[in-house]
Symmetry: C2
């Protein structure tokens, strides 16, 4: 099986490295890290034990890779305007495409360009960030939930889940990936949003009673939006928000990706994590007023 990783930030590098270490043939499409990885390989500094890949297939253009069996998309969603052209040369007659990006709307873009039958979505619960070029830090977690864009469990989704599991990545195939995406938003919206707006990590946010209360209220907003989507099963607001907060209480000063993006002057993933979910909630006849307010506060900051 031949895999191409498009968008080799922390997430793409980590999962690509795990797959390669397990014996899969992986090509990385690289920009920032091309020189370092091509020359000196890829270092993974992981809570589960560091490892090093001396030989890595690194390319700078997708045409150098050609058609593969599986494309894994890890692009930041603010680069989605480049996504289709980056993926196109990798797609042959049998190619599947798995997007592990944040938020909503990514599967739809790929489905429109390449056909819905090719597309799978995956939700990554991964704490990671990039170090100097050629180094990726895996700080915790790593679990993936993936499923077909067209819903339902298939031999393909089971096979992909197995591929990740054999590479040491806990992975579960789910029938309703839309529900899994909304569940992830229950975490992403409050923690990415508040951390970027206030410049605080998740521990700062949960230690202050004011922001802890906001986290819960934002989660309940998102869950209301989710439950208006006609998912296969409703999300239990009280129980699920409690679980998510307890889970995050266990993280030690983790900085969500949007906080890092803002601190490093990159664009924020506002479209996928905020604007599209707000549109979907509105289209389903519900509102997420606190999410809307957080979005506008973040979008305003971006324009300065």
């Amino acid at each position: 099986m031949r895999i191409a990783v498009v968008g080799a930030g922390a997430l793409g590098l980590y999962y690509g490295a795990m797959l390669q270490r397990s014996g899969v043939d992986v090509c990385f499409l690289l920009r920032r890290d091309y020189q370092a990885i091509n020359t000196s390989g890829l270092q993974v500094r992981s809570v589960n034990g560091d490892f090093y890949l001396a030989q890595v297939k690194a390319c700078r253009a997708p045409a150098e890779i050609g058609a593969v069996d599986l494309v894994i998309v890890g692009l930041k969603t603010f680069s989605n305007d480049q996504m289709i052209e980056l993926v196109r040369p990798l797609v042959g007659s049998e190619t599947a495409i798995l997007t592990l990006q944040n938020g909503l709307g990514n599967e739809e873009l790929l489905a429109e360009a390449f056909g819905p039958e090719r597309v799978l979505g995956g939700i990554a619960f991964l704490c990671s960030n990039r170090g100097e070029p050629g180094v990726v830090h895996h700080l915790g977690e790593g679990r993936i939930r993936l499923g077909e864009f067209r819903a339902g469990l298939t031999p393909r989704s089971d096979k992909l889940a197995l591929l990740f599991k054999e590479a040491g990545v806990p992975c579960e195939a789910v029938a309703d990936v839309r529900r899994a995406r909304w569940e992830k938003l229950v975490w992403n919206i409050p923690f990415n949003g508040l951390s970027a707006l206030l410049g605080q990590d998740v521990t700062d946010i949960l230690t202050c009673s004011h922001t802890r209360k906001l986290v819960r209220e934002l989660m309940l907003d998102v869950i209301a939006g989710a439950n208006a989507q006609g998912l296969s099963k409703e999300i239990d607001g009280t129980k699920f928000s409690e679980q998510m907060i307890t889970f995050t209480d266990g993280m030690d000063h983790y900085r969500p990706s949007m906080q890092i993006d803002r601190e490093e002057g990159r664009p924020l993933e506002l479209e996928a994590i905020f604007a599209i979910p707000l549109q979907r909630a509105a289209a389903a006849g519900t509102t997420m007023p606190r999410v809307d307010m957080l979005y506008r506060l973040l979008a305003s900051g971006e324009k300065i």
Copy 2:
């Protein structure tokens, strides 16, 4: 008539200077500006024409002033824990006390300490800030609406309004000062809050469609809170919010006091402008969810 000004920030210095220029006997209780004003007088740089007071009665302790006819309180509300002891030496048997502070709760503190019959509240629509010690900048507006804490128009409230008018300060005595305070909150809550949170002036805020929408939503929240208070007359939400926004569109990059307080590392007036109004709204059985969210975002920032 003998007047003492307690809390001689930009507001206290400006109104005190206007009254002194009109011939009223004014004593200023000063801290930061004591040395400069005692030595070199007080400069007012005003959009209506600069003026200079060479001789100013400046004191560092209220006991040096003693009982006066009128105390004008211009203290920042985050110093309210010192207010009663600063005012006490100035109060004789006939002394009236006029608080021109921001937000809610100030008249109540004075009424509890000195009796409700002495207390008047005033709402200042003033764009001003301090320059170097001994200099105050008057950037625009200046109008005052004042009234008895116990409500109703009295000869005293009319007389005070006349005193200001004769000093060149547009002033109106109102029967329902509580309503006037809530009307002012309709401006203060969105503009002070958003400017402090985002580091943007009122023009930045109104130029961006995202924050312009938030301003309107916050105003409607506050008006709902106001109208739950049993005021003498309801505030028309659509009309009044439109007026306030149009009024503010006319300000050229004005920086609200809370933005300046945050940028200069001072505490914010969160209690008077946010927490007490939220308590009053809750006590009246209504909620102001966007105001609550803005308050928590600001309060969180304060603790860092």
